[in-house]
Chain length 209, copies 2
């Protein structure tokens, strides 16, 4: 859309909004016009919340999750099992696992997955700090909880090799039929693994581990 | 998504972003995490552009389009035909018509369409100021350029009745087959009107009016 804007202020806002992922200039213009229809307090609240978030947020020095303090509430909690470390791609994944209400261990946020296409190698990720956590001791199990994608599997394998020889059990998320999904719509690789990794039916009733 | 956020700053930004139309909490979280990965300048630019736009933008006192000055560049231009006034729903529509490069008249931005469902009556719109422009003279034609929706047609009709008796020609956008569309996929009401309102084929070559 090669739109001639009647205001440089509007044009600037549309340009900035359209830098966000998944937001094109057409959507950005719709958002900007929406904001113009709201009172000034709404625009101030949005604008300031973005600025304050970016400037104010810190990262946990242990697990690299976002944190209001030097060490995040999860790592600092007495109620969490620090011997189990769940390795996730990003901050959102921590929230997803927390929302299951089933995990009592701690986390390690990699900050991405290995992706040569995007120029992301192991050194761009928090893999060395994970190895250090394990070497320092006190960790019994590392759960690799990355996506079942090519990049996720590659990263899982890289971390597995990196931790080889250290006294730690390395596990990964079960692959299987997604809850709510029909067998008919499950691909055969997933079906094969769900068969190989079959579990005791009585374990279905276990809500925590 | 009932997510427990690890930071009140992140939560605030997600809440504000999700107030935007078409952006749910899941998308808002994705946008916020994207901003956290950018440098602080990017968040400042976005936040400030929104605040500055909302505080700085003015509206043309003649046509109610957004404007950097008391009277907008279109209304102020010597090159525009002030006797032809195109009535549009909002600021975006002005841009759309300007982008056609085919219109030399001026505009009148209503600020919406009559929609009892949304509690928008004629008094919420710039209809009285349109009638005043016409009564003050110098306007030969009012082009009703609202959408071919129920609300648009209702508003068209209301304005038509409001201007009745005044020495002005009231026209509306042609209804017909959209350029690029197949006859097969055009509804029969549109087909009927496109037949009734058929035009001289030689007019196809006319680029301006």
């Amino acid at each position: 859309m090669n739109t001639e804007f009647s205001s440089p202020l509007l044009e600037a806002a549309v340009t900035e909004l359209s830098r966000l992922p998944g937001i094109g200039r057409k959507t950005a213009l719709r958002l900007a016009l929406h904001l113009l229809r709201q009172d000034t307090a709404a625009a101030d609240a949005l604008g300031n919340s973005i600025i304050n978030m970016r400037h104010g947020i810190r990262y946990c020095s242990v697990c690299h999750n976002i944190s209001p303090s030097e060490v995040c509430p999860i790592c600092a909690s007495e109620g969490r099992d620090r011997r189990t470390v769940c390795v996730v791609e990003n901050v959102r994944d921590v929230m997803l696992f927390e929302n299951t209400g089933m995990y009592r261990g701690v986390y390690h946020v990699l900050g991405g997955v290995i992706s040569p296409m995007d120029g992301i190698g192991p050194d761009e990720l928090e893999i060395e700090s994970l190895a250090r956590r394990v070497r320092e001791g006190g960790v019994d199990e590392v759960i690799l909880a990355l996506g079942a994608t090519m990049e996720g599997e590659t990263t899982n394998f890289y971390i597995y090799r990196r931790l080889e020889g250290l006294p730690v059990r390395v596990t990964q998320l079960a692959r299987g039929v997604a809850v709510g999904n029909d067998i008919e719509y499950t691909d055969e690789i997933t079906l094969g693994r769900s068969l190989r990794d079959r579990t005791l039916f009585s374990d279905t009733f276990t809500q925590e581990f």
